[in-house]
Amino acid sequence: MSQITTPNGFTLDNSGRRVVIDPVTRIEGHLRIEVNVDSGNVIRNAVSVGTMWRGLEPILKGRDPRDAWAFVQRICGVCTGVHALASVRAVEDALGIPIPASANSIRNIMHLALYAHDHLVHFYHLHALDWVDVVSALSASPKATSELAQSISSWPNSSPGYFSDVQKKVKQMVGSGQLGPFRNGYWGHPAYKLPPEANLMAVAHYIEALNFQREIVKIQAVFGGKNPHPMWLVGGVPSAINVHGAGAVGAINIERLNLVADIAERTLAFISQVYIPDLLAIASFYKDWFKLGGGLSSQNLLSYGEFPSIANDTSNHSLMLPRGAILGGDLTHLHEVDLKDPNQVHEFVDHSWYNYPDEKAGLHPWDGVTDMNFRLGPKSRGGKNGERIEEIDEGDKYSYIKAPRWKGHAMEVGPLARLVIAYAAGDKRVKEMVDGTLKKLDLPLTALFSTMGRTAARGLEGLWAAEKLKEEIAGLQANIRSGNTATANTEKWEPKTWPTEAKGAGYSEAPRGALGHWIKIKEGRIDNYQCVVPTTWNASPRDPAGNIGPYEAALLGVPMANPSKPLEILRVVHSFDPCLACATHVIGPDGGLLTEAKIL
């Protein structure tokens, strides 16, 4: 190819200079990005390569379905708990186990706490350094920084002395020559636009957020015993409630609930007084990024929906974030999404390092196949005999990520998809937040479909989650007040109560987007387990028809100031919050072992 147009409407041109970033850092897992830039250093072709595979599928086969949550939770320790949640829902769906109302509330509380935590950490610790120049912060006036901070927020840590101390810290680090995680950053890059004071404020909040994030997850520790990787239970939650009786100190009691409420209060304060003002301040200096890196977001969006307000009810009447799909950018029509419909979710491996009996056909997750086949295409450079791979051949197989499609369409998932779908469904609070933010920044609705739009949507959703967290804790208290304290349904705990064969689908919305788990159970054991995760959607390689996925689409048209310092690529890719361990665990049914590696 030199120049082609994909069926989903993107023009690819690989004739220009090839630029490779491997490893892409500040993500979960291992990702490689290759792009071609034209003579003006604008990206004209993009290749997203998942470079790890953990092979959990043969491992799960034959295990007790009640244990599955613990295994699949280890798919990801960043969005910890989301796979466990999808897993217990899949098993409950397969076996027909409704959960008690308080268990539903506790799951919501744990999951909302994760949203607040994950979005905050993503913004400050995985994404901020794409916009914030740490070295520039050294030349800021602490007094002017203090004035800036106080003009945008009532957050108390804002005195000139406070910012002066932070600046000294950074100066010392830079001066010592031991920059630690800031070593070799792209400091001074022309794409950095923040004034020194905004940089200093952001660096101070980078440290504050690092110190504060550990508080938020204590909510998961209360109900699940630890974070990362709290404990879950098929049929409910493991933490029993006892607020009135003898021995309450051995269960969820008033002290535990007070602790959770206190953390929720402080979480909302931090997000509304630090995260959101910082986000708006940074966004206001990068308004051009509300036009760049939109990719598929203005066309196809998907959400499975999340946070059932009524236990066991997954209709949009119950879900706080609705389920649905948007196609072709038509916000007036929300398509119905059904994880069990064999004609909706399919995965393709034409460009993935796996074999299918028919490489051109997609398979529904219940019928998926996993048969690894690592090979580098004929046009790749390097990679023979353990040499470094210089260039991947995207015309052949090129990623450990499969290509999932919804009714044949590549779809973007994540906070932006969820907010736009909630907006389209007429959610009042979401509409208010989105419209208010756009008004403050003087931007049209279409500005959402961009790199900065994705980043802003994540922040707004963090705020939404912190608000809902407080409401859900109040909801749990209301359950308890009305005597509704059951936390587990044990009627079908014993395998002897199960049918010989069963299959189920478990949905969730992970912080990064739509997550589905599909399970088949046979004679009390896992016969087949398959996950299709958010980063599989977003980092998807091409499908047999040539449709490109969200990362590849979003990179097109992005100008680079200096291709050897690929800051702009990091901005686009980080706006999706990649999680590669999730995307490339690949769980399938056949339990086949690896085939030989082939290097062509």
Partner: protein, 375 residues
């Protein structure tokens, strides 16, 4: 390369007073369990040592270890990263990417030969020429080998790096291999757990920095200070075990009173970790305290000892007064004997007192009798 600043110089120049510094040392000393005399030792170490460079590499993993590390309350991760070590490479948080990131590994190995610490999260897949994990266009195995070759010491974070964890569970399709099996001449410290407790991670690092030596390790290369006692030994629900008060079903009366989770499959009796003594997330809880049994996530091969809700098997007893090394020699499969001994004791006690306790361990005691404890 510029002069190496000591930890003390760094924090003094940041406006931290001598008094505050000594306060910090006292917290560290307490955390390390070395008492009042230890304050001076910590202070001396911090005053004289440059910040040690750390390369934190990621193999096949889920990043739960990094996330846990960031949860540390004392010292806080921000303090460690800015003041105690020089975390020059950690792909989870580092600013640089691609070539600029790769260059750091190369430069640290060249400039700090034999002086840097290599921290490894995840393990190394060997099947398929190592191509199940590719970093910088090469198998992770290569990056790992180069960094390991010249390290002062290697910290294997978590169960992945220590013994394999989930991707090494049967049938281990990628041939995921723990760190210590691929290193011969550089000391390896295993810090297992999925993930390890945050303050165990930062405690191990602080210990090395403070005493300029590696912690004493057991035969599984785990620091004895954190891994020599079983969760069961220090469990706050242990009294209920001894009294024969067990949770019999989820959310039953026993669960609502915080009774022992042995019958629900708890692995506390066979798991060497500090969860029940230190707690998680700055002591907020640990799995048993939140009502779920321990799944033994710091033990080698724990994924293959399920189902997690089946109570531990009762086999030959081996005596209460033992330790991790001896147990491992005997073999993991017989660990349940410890439970048998204690459950047997409960039965004897019940016979002597002639009482039946509500929700007592009748079944457990009956089923866990062995030739060794029947008489």
């Amino acid at each position: 390369m510029s002069k190496h600043e000591t930890f003390y110089e760094v924090i003094r120049q940041r406006g931290v007073s001598r008094r505050e510094f000594l306060g910090f040392c006292a917290v560290m000393a307490t955390m390390l369990g070395i008492g009042p005399k230890g304050v001076a030792t910590v202070a001396h170490a911090m005053e004289t040592k440059p910040r040690i460079p750390v390369l934190w590499l990621h193999g096949l993993e889920c990043t739960c270890c990094s996330e846990s590390f960031l949860r540390s309350g004392h010292p806080m991760a921000s303090e460690i990263i800015t003041s105690m070590i020089s975390l020059d490479y950690d792909d989870t948080i580092m600013a640089a990417a691609g070539d600029q990131a790769e260059e750091i590994v190369h430069d640290i190995i060249r400039d700090y030969r034999g002086e840097y610490i290599l921290a490894v999260e995840g393990n190394i897949p060997l099947a398929n020429d190592g191509m199940a994990c590719i970093v910088g266009g090469r198998p992770f195995h290569h990056q790992f080998d180069e960094a390991a070759e010249h390290a002062k010491a290697i910290i294997a974070w978590g169960t992945c790096a220590s013994s394999g964890c989930v991707q090494a569970a049967r049938p281990n399709p990628t041939q995921a291999t723990p760190v210590h099996k691929l290193v011969s001449h550089v000391p390896v410290i295993n810090v297992p757990g999925c993930p390890p407790i945050a303050e165990v991670m930062t405690g191990v690092l602080s210990y090395i920095l403070t005493y300029d030596r590696l912690p004493e390790l057991d035969h599984q290369l785990r620091p004895k200070m954190f891994y020599s006692q079983r969760v069961h030994d220090k469990c706050y629900r242990r009294a209920h075990f001894d009294a024969g008060q067990f949770v019999e079903a989820w959310d039953d009366d026993g669960a609502r009173q915080g009774w022992c989770l042995y019958k629900m499959g708890c692995r506390g009796p066979t798991t060497y970790n500090a969860c029940s003594s230190m707690g998680w997330n700055e002591g907020v809880s640990f799995p048993i305290k939140s009502g779920h049994g321990c799944i033994g996530c710091s033990e080698e091969g724990f994924w293959d000892r399920g189902p997690f809700y089946e109570r531990l098997p009762d086999m030959h007893q081996w005596g209460i007064e033992s330790n991790a090394d001896k147990v491992a020699v005997v073999g993991a499969s017989v660990l349940g004997g410890a439970v048998a001994v204690q459950a047997g004791a409960t039965l004897v006690k019940r016979i002597l007192t002639g009482k039946r306790l509500k929700g007592s361990a009748d079944d457990a005691a009956d089923e866990t009798e062995t030739p060794g404890n029947k008489k």
